[in-house]
Symmetry: C2
Subunit: 167 residues, 2 copies
């Protein structure tokens, strides 16, 4: 069996960053204490340093699972309506989540930044049950369409660079 | 804290079935042997008995993870382009996956059924590395928008009924 993974090039880096920069939501994968995975939809944004963040409610199931086990995965990159959905590029991030206390200065900084890309979140960002979570990806798996798979390292997954510039 | 889960009614059942019937792809959550979750995009369809199925390549990462640990989750229900993505309904299924050998009559039956809803899969359904996987949901978590969460049982998650009919 030949290795289906291609060597990661500048184009793959740029595509991964573009998927992260453009995403407004993601599929979050968590694992409960019994080992059962759960995939839910969460908001997706980037902190000023280019790491993935989400704004989640402490009432949500994924929030409760993440509190007991921070290991998680995020899928970004939406197929849209046309063509085979599996030909559209997407990025799977794997790593861990860390909660940001919503009574802190760190929360305020994230909130001001996040509202620029998620203006509708203004409706609930001030609710006491809403928290930011910051994700630290250890690795990324980019699928740019059938037969176009790339592995990315943590350092490749900080999306502060202009996503339209390669490398 | 009040319970954020509403009593499951016929409308919730019908919405869950509609999301399953209309989905052409899903976010699949798996867990590797180290306990790290991974979310990837997979095709999504229903078998003639109304259970979720997917057509996946044995070269894919999720396929290799699922072979070692069948516990998984599927998220269906896409937000589209307008409004806050978190106001759009989605369904998280949790359960386990079982591979269907692609040299069997069971594969042929699934293939004929699947191609009706996924005609573009004709291009690769005959490849030797492609297999069907059948999912058995133990439970479902329906989120019909902020503050509208419902829990569903395995029996509620068989989507053979007309999705436009309640109950």
């Amino acid at each position: 069996m030949t290795d289906p993974i291609r060597p990661t090039d500048n184009q793959a880096h740029a595509l991964a960053r573009r998927l992260m920069t453009q995403a407004r939501f993601a599929a979050l994968g968590t694992v409960d204490t019994k080992g059962q995975p759960l995939v839910t939809r969460v908001a997706f944004g980037l902190c000023p340093e280019g790491q993935p963040i989400s704004l989640i409610s402490s009432l949500s199931q994924h929030s409760q699972v993440l509190r007991s086990n921070p290991a998680c995965s995020l899928l970004v990159g939406e197929p849209g309506d046309k063509g085979d959905p599996l030909t559209h590029p997407r990025l799977s991030l794997v790593g861990a989540a860390k909660f940001v206390d919503n009574q802190t200065r760190a929360h305020q900084v994230l909130a001001a930044h996040y509202l620029q890309s998620h203006p509708k979140a203004k409706l609930y960002i001030g609710f006491t049950d809403f928290f930011f979570v910051r994700f630290t990806p250890d690795a990324g798996y980019l699928n740019a369409g059938f037969g176009k798979a790339f592995h990315l390292k943590a350092a490749d997954l900080v999306a502060t660079a202009n996503p339209d510039q390669p490398g």
